[in-house]
């Protein structure tokens, strides 16, 4: 069963178009407070967790099919070179194949010790960031945008690795800002660090740098 959680602090209507186009037979849920990211220590979208029949996590939060190829986009034409576009598509296909493989054969499920080792490293700062983010979403929803912005900013300072917190706050400020010049500057500032760390699966080596 697929559970697709929309991290969408603007509410369901803002994400509805995509869900309707997907004509999904699985669960599509709306998470205005990014509750799932808080519970599972997720920092970006798309990230996924695999859960077995007994309700155990068998793969920790990991990038679900996306890659860093977008960082080598031609910024004037906003396009990817064909070989990069193809590599990106291949990574999606490969990740989906791994998920299907797990469903039918159980392959790629990790033993409990390996899952524990790969879980996100949570800190008091991250915990406070999630509390501030939640407070900020409430303030935003109740017409107190200026006060909300201060808490969103504090949350991002406390948890700089969370792209979801930063981009959601940017989107609430203005639709499109989450992918605007400030976003690209932040991506640039990553340097050699990945935006989408590849999952620890066969065939998913770290993508080559520029």
């Amino acid at each position: 069963m697929v559970v697709a959680v929309a991290e969408e602090s603007r509410g369901a209507d803002h994400a509805r178009t995509w869900v309707e186009q997907a004509k999904a037979s699985y669960w599509c849920l709306v998470d205005t407070e990014h509750r799932v990211a808080d519970l599972y220590g997720m920092v970006n979208v798309p990230q996924a967790v695999w859960i077995d029949e007994a309700g155990r996590i068998v793969r920790p939060p990991e990038t679900a099919g996306s890659t860093d190829h977008f960082r080598r986009m031609d910024m004037t034409t906003r396009t990817l070179a064909p070989e990069l576009a193809q590599a990106r598509q291949q990574a999606r296909t490969d990740y989906l194949a791994a998920v299907k493989d797990w469903v039918t054969t159980g392959r790629h499920a990790l033993p409990p010790d390996a899952v524990k080792r790969a879980l996100p490293k949570l800190t008091p700062e991250i915990a406070e960031a999630h509390a501030r983010f939640r407070l900020a979403v409430w303030l935003q929803r109740n017409g107190r945008a200026a006060e909300a912005a201060a808490h969103f900013a504090a949350a991002s300072r406390l948890h700089p690795d969370s792209w979801s917190m930063w981009r959601q706050a940017a989107d609430l400020e203005a639709v499109g800002k989450a992918g605007g010049p400030e976003f690209w500057a932040r991506v640039q500032a990553l340097g050699d660090k990945p935006y989408y760390p590849p999952p620890d699966l066969p065939g998913f080596a770290a993508p080559r740098k520029n």
Partner: protein
Amino acid sequence: MATILTDRGELTAATDDGLWLDAADAERATGWVLKPEGMCCDDLCVPLPAAMVAAGRVDVAGFWRRLGNPVVHDEARQVWALGAGAAARRDALAGDAAPDFALPDFAGVTRRLSELRGRKVFLSTWASW
């Protein structure tokens, strides 16, 4: 009246300065029960310093921080978020069952992860932004 955001949901309660709640509201907000020996949850009791309890009311913000959890509030101290500390989140993630949650679908129907026990679940996030 203050608004309190917790893992257990959103509630409103009468407060004094700060987040002093009567025992019933303290339990609604935290799941912990005020007893003579302190704040108790199942078999576990945490003693409260004298400064955190007065006339049947509990300094819930102080108590929550004492458990290692974050507490944040708005400027007017009327909206409070009682978060979960790093250790609590870590323990839940490393536990035997994936952390449970309930969220609405696009028709407004509440779905709970644990309803899917017995099936493999691919839990994935996405966003419009």
